[in-house]
Point group: C2
Chain length 317, copies 2
Amino acid sequence: SVSCRMEAVRNRLAECSQEAHDLYLNQSVPYLDGPPEPLQFHRDWIAPNKPCIIRNAFSHWPALAKWSPDYLRYKVGSKVISVAVTPNGYADAVNGDRFVMPEERQMSFSSVLDIIEGKVDKGGGVFYVQKQCSNLLQELPELTADVQPHIAWMSTALGKLPDAVNFWLGEANAITSMHKDHYENLYCVVSGEKHFVLMPPTDRPFIPYGLFQPAVYHQRDDGEFEVIDQSDSEMVPWIPLDPLNPDLERFPQYRRARPLHCSVKAGEMLYLPSLWFHHVQQSHGCIAVNFWYDMDYDIKYNYFQLLEALCEVTRST
Amino acid sequence: SVSCRMEAVRNRLAECSQEAHDLYLNQSVPYLDGPPEPLQFHRDWIAPNKPCIIRNAFSHWPALAKWSPDYLRYKVGSKVISVAVTPNGYADAVNGDRFVMPEERQMSFSSVLDIIEGKVDKGGGVFYVQKQCSNLLQELPELTADVQPHIAWMSTALGKLPDAVNFWLGEANAITSMHKDHYENLYCVVSGEKHFVLMPPTDRPFIPYGLFQPAVYHQRDDGEFEVIDQSDSEMVPWIPLDPLNPDLERFPQYRRARPLHCSVKAGEMLYLPSLWFHHVQQSHGCIAVNFWYDMDYDIKYNYFQLLEALCEVTRST
């Protein structure tokens, strides 16, 4: 019957995830001991769309030794940067029936450091320097000499330069909710550590999406946060599930997902492949720099678009 | 309704093909002017799974100048090789309700040349040296010094050696019916020319498959061919459609396929990507050598398996 066949389609989508794990994915995120050759990296990791952690890939960056709070105050303390402020640490995440974005606040770098070091009363918010518009090059050019403008072997492998180099600095409770990007991502932890939950694109059938009214947080003068709808904006598709505490009654399919967990320590670089779902936490005051290379919109992207569309068509609810 | 959604699944499979053409495929098979760098070839052609024709990639092969019938008679004339013999030129193809394989005949190379040159009455069959078991290295080792045991830049790109190097020599009416292989294929035309019909894996929804009783041709002493069932063998899935003369009443979906046609001339090399459907014809006496590199069973294979299974599940007949 047609209804049986619909169930068969649904089952087949789930089997695709199972086969990916059996066929080519690893049980955990493997380590490379040094920077790879461009061809080998393209063949072993980028083309098959598999994550890995690379050690000793940026040991020569002055940032690793230099980027103490004192140094950063001296170098860029007076610079004004964009900071995401939220009541709960969740910037760009589902809250109830809304997709809520952070209050974007312009602050001096010094005052962000004061907050992270606990030197001032921050007035109730959670602060995260996480602006993903190449903020390292745009907002903090004084720091670029301490890192690299691109990762040579990755640029050679992909035949292009990164679209963005982002600087990340945040509190322990600043969280990036589960999502995916159309970038090949090299995530370099300079100090502290980042904790990732990763899921391959083929786990898409188990990952719930909803459509949410966009809104932004706004901290009032009395310190309370309010949520202000962006009524003119289109509904935003986002993942309402928290992989650290999944609501399995509401999202029973998620039982079948097989998230990989990994911690990336200072001096380590995560290769986070395009279209992998990821959720990120960090140690307090963790500093990271990441490189976003636009993905190739080729057969893999094409197939993922099919998978995603079929997940929507076959949704039982 | 469920039945509407089933139709939506079917439409989405077709859209995937359309998107592939819009997104990353070419309208015709592009040419490269010389042997590529391994990384560039991996990035531009292997990873995105796109065919191309490479010129001047084996200009230094002695075979190009040497492999005349006289030279071949002198070098390997007395060697016994496997030849596929059929009544109609179709080896490994659907004939009525059967999948019919050729009679595999052991013959001296000289007698094959006699037939192709029209020097003897061949007694009604069509002859094709097409045994795909690394027959160049296995059956004709005397010829290997005239070519190469592998293609250096491809072996470097893939990080492995070919699984097989095959020698092809056949009559004008010897045809390879539409199928796909799990190999990255480099097809080098030494003399004459080969005509390919190519379709990407994403055209799978438009390509009909059936299950057929396997059988083999056998030429009787009176010269007539009979078809002998291989009753003990399992049914074979194959494509009953002839892309040169498609039966669109029987296979209406094929109207939506977008085959690429290309001719590969002496001195040219076709990169035929893994899982691309292909149908092959040739000029009379065309000689070719091809290299089969096992494909990587990674995310692309995984996605194709899904596509293939969904085509089966959603078949309307």
